[in-house]
């Protein structure tokens, strides 16, 4: 039948045309396209690999950064704590110092007051002794001005001494 018998003319043209077109395209067509696309694919592959590496590096950097941040924060906290501590300490110290100073001042003041008091008392006592001696002089001069009174006084003194002696024995 016609359909399954290859026609010689078509066979001839097919071989000729297919051959020519194949020759042209194999020389100027397909290799150009495939080599360019392969070049592009290689570049893309390389870029992807690079991108992955960069990403890895980025992750590391981010981690580093985070760690550094964390450390800095810790340090900051520590410094703050230390500052607080030292402030407290200084305050404490200042208070203690102030208290001690105050105490010292108070003690000194007290000592001085006591001294002043002492000396004032001494003065008063001396004054009082002088006064009483004066007063006693005057009184004795008045009472012992007569012979009789002198005698009576002496007698009484003798009596007293005698009584004291009896009591002792």
């Amino acid at each position: 039948m016609n359909l399954i018998t290859p026609d010689s003319g078509l066979l001839f043209w097919m071989v000729l045309i297919f051959g020519i077109v194949f020759f042209l395209l194999a020389k100027f067509g397909f290799p150009v396209i495939t080599s360019m696309v392969e070049k592009r694919n290689e570049t893309i592959e390389k870029s992807l690999k690079d991108a992955k590496e960069i990403e890895l590096k980025m992750t590391e950097m981010v981690q580093d950064h985070a760690r550094m941040l964390e450390e800095a924060r810790k340090e900051q906290a520590q410094i703050l704590r230390e500052a607080t501590d030292s402030r407290k300490q200084i305050l404490e110290q200042a208070k203690t110092d102030a208290r001690e100073e105050a105490d010292k001042i108070v003690t000194e003041a007290r000592a001085r007051i006591a001294d002043e008091k002492e000396s004032a008392m001494r003065d008063i006592r001396r004054e009082a002794a002088l006064l009483s001696v004066g007063v006693a002089e005057k009184i004795l001069r008045e009472e012992l001005s007569s012979e009789k009174a002198q005698q009576a006084y002496l007698e009484r003194l003798v009596d007293e001494v005698a009584r004291e002696n009896e009591q002792v024995s």
């Binding site: 290859p6 194999a26 397909f30 396209i33």
Partner: protein, 363 residues
């Protein structure tokens, strides 16, 4: 889809414009040589009366080769492209337009054989050496020019642009995935070392089949020729693969064929089987592509012809069957688009596998 609509519209108009009773014969009248061919029995049995539609003839007219290209008909007028006849008969070379051979006329001692539709010598009936530009040859030239233009334009795009900075546009963006698909297929099936040598052939075979398959689906000139459904074309393609396989076959490949490593009693049988199998590979490639594409064309044409068979059963039958056959035709055309790609892919894939098998270096 376009084919179905166009053919049905044209044929309906043709049927309506001619007086009743005679309406359906116009298609057969257009080529009396073929219409008189006695062996063309219609499978649907509509050739009971002389005036009836000859479905088989219409179909074979569309899928076969011809010395003229019938582009369109309008009533009694036909737009026909008469193609050049180039033959070498016993009287030497003859080159003339096929117009001179219309209606069985003879010219320069040559005429068209009414039975086979081929040019023969008028007196002796011998078949001369015939390399006429027939319908299929013209379609082949057209599709190859298209293929050349498309691929060279794509290549030019890659020459003129920096692929690292630009993405392909236009025709390059369309062709790149196809070409790279075949290129990668070659790499997978042939192997990393020498796939580059065979990739251009596989790309060429794939795009050639793909272009011609799709042009075959296009219903109007210059598409519509049944080129990949022609056994001469598929045979040449398969032979190209066959020669590529056997010329570039390695020692290991030939050892597998002629001295395979099998038990002693199989030694004399195996080469026979292997040689036979090597011969059958191009045959199977030929028949697979040819039969698939031919069957697709016949199916679509048959579905379209249902409309014209139904015309004599009245308006209701004609209307309802037209709707059904148009719907079915749309489905078949979509299917054919799929088949067009699959068959190109399968042919290329099998070729690359055969080449890959012939290139093995042995374990």
């Amino acid at each position: 889809m376009i084919r179905v609509l166009l053919i049905s519209v044209l044929m309906l108009l043709q049927a309506l414009s001619v007086p009743e009773g005679d309406s359906l014969s116009s298609a057969s009248l257009r080529d009396p040589v073929r219409a008189n061919a006695p062996e063309r029995e219609s499978p649907s049995g509509t050739e009971a009366e002389g005036n009836d539609l000859n479905v088989a003839e219409i179909i074979f007219d569309h899928i076969g080769d011809d010395y003229e290209w019938h582009i369109a008909s309008w009533g009694d007028r036909h737009l026909i492209l008469h193609l050049p006849v180039i033959v070498h008969s016993s009287t030497g070379w003859h080159v003339f337009s096929s117009r001179h051979l219309e209606n069985g006329a003879s010219w320069e001692g040559l005429k068209i054989d009414p039975e086979k539709g081929k040019i023969i010598e008028a007196d002796s009936g011998k078949r001369p050496f015939d390399i006429s530009i027939t319908k299929n040859v013209l379609a082949l030239m057209f599709s190859c020019l298209l293929l050349l233009a498309v691929v060279l334009c794509t290549a030019r795009w890659y020459r003129r642009h920096d692929v690292l900075k630009e993405t392909p546009t236009g025709i390059a963006a369309l062709m790149e995935p196809l070409i790279m698909m075949v290129h990668n297929m070659a790499r997978e099936n042939i192997g990393e070392e020498d796939y580059r040598k065979f990739s251009p052939y596989l790309c060429m075979a794939f795009l050639f089949i793909l272009f011609n398959n799709f042009l075959g689906i296009v219903p109007f000139f210059p598409g519509g020729a049944n080129l990949t459904g022609n056994i001469a074309v598929t045979l040449v393609l398969a032979l190209f693969t066959f020669f590529t396989v056997n010329i570039f076959g390695t020692k290991h490949y030939y050892k597998e064929i002629f001295a395979p490593d099998v038990p002693g009693f199989l030694k004399p049988i195996m080469p026979v089987i292997e040689v036979f199998s090597a011969m059958m590979k191009p045959v199977s490639l030929t028949i697979r592509l040819f039969a698939n594409m031919l069957a697709g064309h016949i199916m679509i044409l048959s579905i379209v012809c249902v409309i014209f068979i139904m015309a004599k059963y009245g308006a209701v039958m004609l209307g309802s069957m037209s709707v059904i056959s148009v719907l079915f035709g749309v489905f078949l055309d979509a299917l054919e688009c799929l088949v067009a790609f699959i068959q190109a892919y399968v042919f290329t894939m099998l070729s690359s596998i055969y080449i890959g098998l012939a290139r093995q270096k042995g374990d």
